[in-house]
């Protein structure tokens, strides 16, 4: 079964056992939300860094699918297909 890859920023990699890329097997398109559920299932702290307890993406966490930030698409309902790459990148924020 092909995979969908989620690429993590370096600051989050310690929460994923040191991995820079997490993959989930998928035999067809899935939503970004379901993809995050799958790749963080063994990494609960990582999951909480990305989304709050309501499931909402944290304000300054951006997720890109083929170069587009998902808030400009369908948010966590954005569909990704096997072979696509999903990037997690923190916003430029703070002072």
């Amino acid at each position: 079964m092909p995979d969908i890859a989620v690429v993590l920023p370096s600051v989050l990699q310690p929460l994923a056992g040191g991995q820079s890329v997490l993959t989930a097997p998928a035999d067809g398109p899935v939503t970004v939300g379901k993809l995050l559920d799958a790749v963080t299932s063994d990494f609960a702290v990582l999951a909480r860094r990305l989304r709050d307890e309501t499931g909402a993406l944290r304000r300054f966490v951006n997720i890109y699918v083929d170069g587009d930030e998902v808030r400009r698409l369908q948010g966590l309902e954005t569909v990704v297909a096997p072979g696509q790459e999903v990037l997690v990148i923190q916003s430029v924020a703070g002072g």
């Binding site: 909480r48 860094r49 309501t54 909402a56 944290r58 924020a93």
Partner: protein, 368 residues
């Protein structure tokens, strides 16, 4: 219990906008620092729990990117633990998410393992496992006033928790909402703000809606508490049923800090700021004011503090320890921390040039 400074050590925890610094001392004059811990995360709340024969430091951590969490260390910051599922998270049915943990408050020695927390959005939490997991207080969350509570400049939060050693009385203060009291351990809550002004509202004397900045209990007089309000300094002698002003004698009635002595009746400290619209020490002269007679008179104390200080001191950026004499500690938004080993008579600068100081806590510990 009086703790003698000569037999024990001291821990000072400084939470800032960009991390946590920890310090230990044998004499409250020379401090050894570690940090920053949690670099680039703000630390708005700290609880130092010295019960059960160990020193547990609990911190509210909040990253602008990665959100809030609570971590704890049992080895003075050498290692930190964070529960996998999070120590504080709203139940699904509330539809809410924690924004920031504003207060972590270990209960009294007779209730080991019990730790309270206050958070944004306005909520009260209780742990019975030493701060590793907290449960939402439904009595306050479901209070019919909730929809009318507002947000101060820093956000809407339950920021002060006062748990009384005997019985089931708990006081919580929130901005904005005012003081709420429970007589049944937190099952039910009633506003208790009679006498506290809310000049910024159409009715300046509402049942609730006050912007209380900090409350603290007198350790020796049951039913006596002190409040630093958004303009106004108050005392209650009847368990918060009524409040009366004790601001006379202070250079200003605005400020955020309210500290009380760990044992002695009638002793409290405030750090006045000029006004809501001018949040600086009066005349740029930073000073702590102490009362030893429950607010009838105030003594200005500035020995060791700088002149020309224009940074404010936030509500939790001050603390007392339990030594004899009690230590007084506070930090400014300019990143300077001062400590007094003699109840405020003289201060020493113990840290400077840190990020904005959000929270300061100090404790007497064994063998640090």
């Amino acid at each position: 219990m009086v703790r003698m400074a000569s037999a024990e050590s001291f821990v000072l925890a400084i939470g800032t906008k960009k991390g946590l610094w920890l310090a230990t001392s044998q004499d409250r004059r020379e401090w050894s620092f570690t940090g920053p811990h949690f670099l680039m995360s703000e630390i708005p709340s700290i609880g130092i729990d010295t019960r059960d024969g160990r020193t547990r430091i609990m911190v509210g951590v909040r990253s602008e990117h990665w959100g809030p969490t609570v971590a704890h260390s049992d080895d003075l910051g050498a290692t930190w633990s964070e529960p996998e599922q999070g120590a504080i998270k709203f139940p699904e049915d509330t539809g809410a998410a924690v924004e920031r943990v504003w207060q972590i408050y270990p209960d009294v020695a007779s209730r080991p393992g019990v730790v309270w927390a206050g958070a944004e959005p306005i909520s009260l939490w209780k742990s019975t496992d030493g701060g590793e997991h907290f449960e939402l207080n439904r009595g306050l969350w479901d209070h019919p006033h909730r929809s009318e509570w507002g947000a101060g400049y820093g956000g809407a939060a339950a920021h002060s928790i006062v748990v009384h050693p005997a019985g089931e009385t708990v006081h919580v203060a929130m901005s904005t909402g005012g003081v709420y009291r429970s007589l049944d351990g937190g099952s039910s809550w009633e506003p208790r703000n009679k006498g506290i002004s809310a000049y910024f509202m159409p009715d300046p004397n509402p049942e609730f809606g006050q912007c209380v900045h900090k409350i603290a209990a007198d350790p020796a007089v049951e039913g006596r508490l002190y409040a630093q309000n958004h303009h106004g300094v108050y005392r209650t002698d009847d368990n918060a049923d009524t409040w009366k002003s004790i601001a006379e004698g202070l250079p200003a009635d605005f400020g955020f800090v309210m500290l009380t002595h760990p044992r002695r009746e009638g002793t409290a400290w405030v750090i006045p700021l000029k006004a809501d619209g001018e949040r600086i020490p009066p005349n740029g002269e930073l000073a702590v004011h102490r009362t030893d007679d429950a607010g009838s008179t105030w003594k200005r104390m500035a020995f060791g503090l700088p002149r020309g200080e224009y940074n404010s001191v936030l509500r939790d950026a001050a603390s007392v320890d339990t030594a004899e004499p009690a230590g007084v500690y506070f930090g400014t938004r300019g990143g300077t921390v001062y400590a007094s080993a003699d109840e405020g008579e003289t201060f020493r600068e113990v840290a400077a040039h840190l990020p904005d100081v959000l929270c300061v806590r100090a404790a007497v510990v064994a063998g640090a």
